[in-house]
Point group: C2
Chain length 95, copies 2
DNA sequence: CATCTATTTGGCTATTTGGCAAAATAGATG
DNA sequence: CATCTATTTTGCCAAATAGCCAAATAGATG
């Protein structure tokens, strides 16, 4: 396997960074079960809806979630369910 | 499995956040091969040695690396080699 | 103890982040 | 087209981050 370049690490770090927030981990874990609209996520998270929307934007830019419109609602879903294996791996770290 | 609390997510996010930087991913990957002193890491990274030292502090606080002194040198090593499985998982994400 | 080397710490600046509130937007519906 | 609902965007502020340089520290060694 080739040595990774700075760019490789930057790309990888960008995805990891998107996950590096408690609220975003909560969102990702919720989406694991089912796709969910923003207002429902807001209720779970408890922050202002604009804040939740920004978190979703971060996740979307990282390619971790995607959205589907249905009437007035946007339903978000995991674009990449395997990220949760990654999160679970971290959760299981013995420190 | 119980629902995770905010604290669970905060703890998990703290570890992930420590990994969420290109230089720190580079460092972690280097340490995978062998334990390494700070000045050697500085050569690989190319930043000021104080910057590298601070990155190592971040990783140490997260429990991801540990150090061993040998004479003047501090040899850092992975405290938790499994984190790289995690990183590899992210690297392999299809986006 | 003086000094040397490797490393960490402190101080500074520029940039990014996370949060709320208010304004703007996108579709649905009257 | 007016209006309603769900969501995003913008503006703002406080706090955190990353980087460099200079100063401090920890051991080793003369």
């Amino acid at each position: 396997m080739k040595a990774k370049t700075k760019n490789d690490y930057a790309a990888q770090a960008a995805v990891i960074k998107a996950m590096a927030h408690p609220t975003r981990l909560l969102i990702l874990n919720s989406l694991k079960k089912k796709e969910t609209c923003v207002c429902e996520l807001r209720d779970m998270v408890g922050d202002d809806i604009s804040t939740v929307s920004k978190h979703l934007l971060v996740l979307k830019k990282a390619g971790l979630v995607a959205a589907r419109r249905e009437g007035n609602w946007l339903h978000y879903r995991l674009a990449c369910p395997c990220v949760l294996d990654f999160a679970a791996c971290v959760a299981g770290l013995k420190r």
